[in-house]
Symmetry: C2
DNA sequence: CTGAAAGCGCTTACAG
DNA sequence: CTGAAAGCGCTTACAG
């Protein structure tokens, strides 16, 4: 049967290529290249079982003689055998792969945390498959299902709205999930983020302490938890200090196109504003361009605080005060939490909901 | 046999959990959840073969009646069946996955191109597994091998030095590979990048045309092709205009720590410098901080051009003139090229070596 | 201590 | 037009 299959394939190649001889050789060598457990057991006169046990470090447990084990390991090393993960995954149901879903890997916040998560996962023997949702629920659903079909062992998700049902199902199927950046209130799931309310409260407090009386919040209309909490923090400080709220809420879908015009109008109509908090990184970058184009002096005319720190804010002149998320700690917590469920082989009943404190990095933009 | 295995697993659960009943139910529902071709064929009274053909769009080709096909498709949709990619991959040797290796996903250049490549791949039915080498050959080798063990169909590599042998082997095994950003001169492989020499030549020419007579190049000692070409471009312009070269070459390994001190010394010792080209993005960001800290006026004292454009350079005051890589075109070419080999099922003899032109975005930093 | 054999969920050459 | 059966490369319960 094997021979027949071989001949058949060769035949295909013969009829479709010009340099048949060359390709044929390649094809054979390609198959030869990939050595299997069967090849090893045959060569060493042992059974597949024995090889497999030794390869999986179960030699002692299965009371396989040290000499046999050593002989197998030496041979494996010599021929450079590596196991086929697809076959292994098919049997064990484990692939040592983590599905990582972000909003957009091109966003510095996500790419930086991706870099850290990748490293942590790698150190623990896991690889990452990633994808971006661009904030679309349909895309997110498709990605989760695709990951499932590919048998990822666990999921790290930056969820869009409307994913409640799917995530609940993942949990019911005992698939480890950790949410980050934002969570879904209706779903009981592990979550790691920052204390957004406190972070924004502190940012605004910093402005108020600098004597600002008319503090604006530039945000989007997204109903994601992290955005709502930031809004809460803003409101809390304003209430505490008896200040008027000036809120510009840009439609999330058109956040890039609309920001510029909307912000210009907003500032024109509210000339009294003397402090601005940007609720997220792309709003800050876009907003700073608007401020500059309108020759608004920072901080003398308007003081500025941004959410999420990055190079652009650091290099801006004046340096922009920013709320920095503890990316490294977050990445570590996310992976650690996922690994616990992964090792356990099932989802724990008690979910872990952790909000880390953010750090306010004070620069010249707030005087 | 199946029943025995089932009981065994249940037993394990009974002995390790408290709410055994609950967990048991979960476990069964988890297995039930995953419906297979066998389940479908049984339910519909057809063979696995027929189901498989229909699922793979071979119904017509295999002359399966339209009614049967429709019935199967309807049932599949109803029960929400999705194929197990591991099993499929084991048989076909295809996983519809592309291995994507970058230097560091946290670097904006790589995360932006990753975002674009991911989208293009996704539109063509491929998923991305990615990893970062951090410029280390050992890590790169390990990643390539890990990807191979996981059966990725193709490779998009930003190669480190010393990967010649491994890449040659991939080609010999008929595994599609596309290099980007830099290539390995000793290896015949597809490559997509930019015309680095021209790009740097034009950047320096722009400075010279602005009357700069003492143009410095800040680069690393990396021997990667893209860096060498940029150096060539610099040299070419200098020769053409009869200008003296001022080159600061920071050790690649310590590029972050050393840049600051080295650059300060360099500028101090070469007070005559009136123009600077940074050879890559992190050098530009670090370098600009040094210039600012030393209160060097841009462009009046020193004019500046950076390689790779990004937000930080755009927002910097003054705006920094930058060489912008055509990321979108590159991503498209990379995927298109890989898809050709992927569809073909083997590596083409003729390799594709394409260098796209970069664009110089002139801002205030060059006067 | 070790091996024969079943099974994971697919695809596909072959036989009607 | 459709099905029985082999095989992809592993793991593992069972039987010595």
């Amino acid at each position: 049967m094997k021979t027949i299959a071989l001949l058949f394939k060769l035949n295909i190649i013969f009829t479709t290529t010009i340099s048949a001889k060359h390709t044929t050789t390649n094809w054979i060598s390609m198959k030869r290249n990939r050595i299997s457990i069967k090849d090893i057991s045959k060569a060493l006169g042992l059974s597949n079982t024995t090889i497999s046990f030794i390869l999986n470090g179960k030699a002692e447990e299965m009371r396989i003689s040290a000499q046999v084990a050593a002989r197998v390991l030496a041979y494996v090393k010599e021929v450079g055998y590596t196991p086929n993960y697809l076959a292994r995954g098919l049997v064990t149901g484990k692939t040592n792969t983590i599905g990582f879903i972000v909003e957009n890997i091109g966003n510095p916040f996500f790419s930086q945390i991706a870099s850290l998560i990748e490293e942590q996962a790698y150190n623990n023997g896991y690889k990452i498959i990633y994808s971006s949702t661009n904030g679309e629920k349909a895309k997110a659903l498709e990605l989760i299902r695709m990951f499932r079909d590919r048998g990822v062992d666990g999921y790290i998700l930056c969820p869009t709205e409307g994913l409640e049902e799917e995530i609940t199902q993942l949990r019911e199927e005992n698939r480890p999930v950790v949410l980050f950046d934002r969570y879904l209130p209706a779903v009981d799931s592990h979550y790691i983020g920052i204390s957004n309310e406190d972070a924004m409260y502190n940012a605004c407090k910093h402005l108020a302490d600098k004597g600002k009386k008319h503090i604006a919040l530039i945000t989007t209309d997204s109903q994601q938890t992290q955005m709502l909490s930031r809004l809460e923090g803003y409101r809390k400080l304003l209430k505490e200090r008896n200040l008027t709220a000036y809120i510009l809420s840009v439609p999330y879908e058109e956040r890039r196109e609309r920001l510029q015009l909307d912000l210009e109008n907003f500032l024109e109509n509210n000339g009294i504003i003397d402090g601005i908090c940007f609720a997220t990184n792309y709003l800050a970058v876009g907003g700073l361009e608007v401020l500059r184009r309108n020759q608004i002096k920072i901080p003398s005319h308007i003081a500025v605080v941004a959410f999420d720190d990055n190079e652009a804010l650091r290099l801006f002149q004046p340096g922009i005060t920013a709320v920095a998320q503890p990316l490294e700690d977050m990445a570590k917590l996310i992976i650690d939490r996922l690994l616990i469920d992964l090792k356990l082989g099932k989802v724990t009943d008690k979910t872990f909901h952790k909000e880390l404190p953010a750090r306010l990095i004070v620069r010249e933009s707030t005087g």
